[in-house]
């Protein structure tokens, strides 16, 4: 049972990341591959606050969001000049740079040694060391993020995002400052990623730079593309599928010495088949 609770917690964290990234990629049509960087900043802020100062989990969460908002504002301003492939490439670059900062800013992030001994949150005496209670906490945050996203998507603001996805110049002619809309949605999604980062840091109680690399951003991107772009429930399904898939493959034992590599082959082939036969994802409506 402990294993299922653990998987549920990972699933909730990655569903939060998926839903928030979907706002930028699925609804606004901007292929951002830097989500793991904001996920990492949220995690590191909580890790450093909880290990180095007496600050509690929730204030570290809030300060994580503040820091991520500032950084995502700067990144967003630079990004607003780009579209399509170039936008994706610039986000590639930012993810690599922020990862390099995690790796090399020794006296802040402890470099590749990572930050161990991150405490679990305390709130009204509930023991969050027990994974089930932590799952409830994570679920609460996810529900908040999910309904905030639904609110955004169903509002006039969300409708303008979709118009930007469809034809940015056309919507601009009707008086909409598309740059500021793109910037705001980028910041909101980054702040949500920071929440997921704080939860991850406090749950695993140890973080190191390698969890926030480009490969992680591509993993989150695969979640929302598989689940279906422009569909929040799709991102949840995508997270469920891509978190459970490697776990299921653990039980499917190929002959021991090549089984791990075989799983990667299966994973790659699934991605290819999906793009061939189901590019809009399981329940998405917007084709990438």
């Amino acid at each position: 049972m402990e294993y299922l609770i653990h998987l549920a917690i990972l699933f909730v964290i990655y569903a939060t990341l998926g839903v928030s990234l979907n706002l930028v990629v699925g609804y606004t049509g901007l292929l951002s591959v830097t989500h793991a960087a904001f996920y990492g900043i949220g995690a590191y802020t909580t890790a450093i606050f909880l290990t180095k100062s007496g600050v509690g989990f929730f204030s570290s969460l809030v300060s994580g969001i503040v820091i991520v908002v500032v950084i995502s504002f700067l990144v967003g301003v630079v990004l607003s000049k780009f579209k399509g492939d170039y936008y994706a490439l610039v986000t590639f670059g930012f993810n690599a740079i922020i990862f390099a900062v995690f790796l090399n800013w020794q006296n802040l992030t402890n470099g590749s040694l990572g930050v161990p001994g991150i405490s679990r949150p305390e709130l009204f005496g509930i023991n969050f060391a027990n994974n089930f209670n932590f799952l409830i906490l994570a679920l609460i945050f996810f529900v908040l993020v999910y309904f905030a996203s639904r609110f955004i998507v169903n509002s006039s603001f969300g409708r303008v995002l979709k118009a930007i996805r469809e034809d940015e110049t056309a919507i601009a002619v009707f008086g909409y400052k598309t740059l500021s809309f793109k910037l705001v949605v980028f910041i909101i999604s980054a702040a949500m990623a920071a929440v997921a980062g704080s939860l991850f840091a406090s749950y695993i109680t140890f973080i190191d730079p390698s969890s926030f690399q480009l490969t992680e951003s591509m993993f989150i991107l695969a979640i929302i593309i598989l689940g279906g772009l422009g569909n929040l429930r799709g991102s949840i399904l995508g997270a469920l599928f891509l978190i459970l898939l490697p776990e299921i493959l653990r039980f499917v034992g190929f002959s021991s010495d090549i089984d791990a590599q075989m799983r990667q082959v299966v994973y790659g082939i699934i991605l290819i088949l999906l793009m061939l036969y189901r590019p809009q994802g399981l329940i998405g409506e917007y084709k990438l």
Binding site: M262, Q264, P279, L288
Partner: protein, 288 residues
Amino acid sequence: MGILPQLILNSIIAGAIYTLVALSFNLIYSTTKFFNLAHGVMAAIGGYAVFYFSKTLGLDIHIAIVLGVILTGFVGFGVDKFIYLQLRKRKASNMVLLVASLGVMTALQAIIAILFSSRFKTLSGNIDTQKIFTILGGVITQTQLVILLSAVLIMAGFVIFLYKTQFGKTVRAISDDEEVARIIGINTNKIIGYIFFIGSAVTGFTGILIGFDVGIEPTMGLSLLLKGVIASIVGGVGNIYGGVLGAFLLGFVENFGIWKISGEWKDAIAFALLIVFLIFRPRGIMNK
């Protein structure tokens, strides 16, 4: 300064390797207009093919190289025919092709690791057979000289091929506008298939050269590709001379960056260069 000649030489060698990757990447990107993440793996395929032919089958090294290059070309041709072409037929967008190429990369890398284990292998014999040359105070090995020569030769080959031959004219027509090219009767899918063959063959050859100079491992593709992509963006995507210029600029900026700052910031410097260019000169140096 005693170090300067060696530093310049190092930058040139790095530039030559990036040139080879940038040239082949530019060729494929200019006609297919999507970031093919699987492009890097072709280098590993080339390297391991030569390893198999020469070390396991014991063929003569030159035959092994020729077979390796041809085999990689066919792998690239096959991937385009069975995956990318089907996606193009389904009017898939760049992002779908990007995710599919992520699947191809993951699967191919894992297959290589299954066949050859993921251990690092070197193609060259032991240390003392390497002839060492000293040019204006800097030291360069025979393999690195071959790398420089092949970078120059292949670039010249590309220029002649693209601007002097009939086939090259059709390729440039496709890169300008694929629809128009199809309308005037060019069988674009066949040409793109050949382009994949040539591009992959050149990358395979690059992998073989790196195999002799340093060595090969299944996961060598992605970092090589990222540097090639940066070089072609900085130089001007789709522009042959741009790719070469961008590659050497990247080689110099990286090596002088290591000299002035320190080794672990090398990748961050490369991406910072990319971001600076994308902000101030998104079209790259050569493109008007």
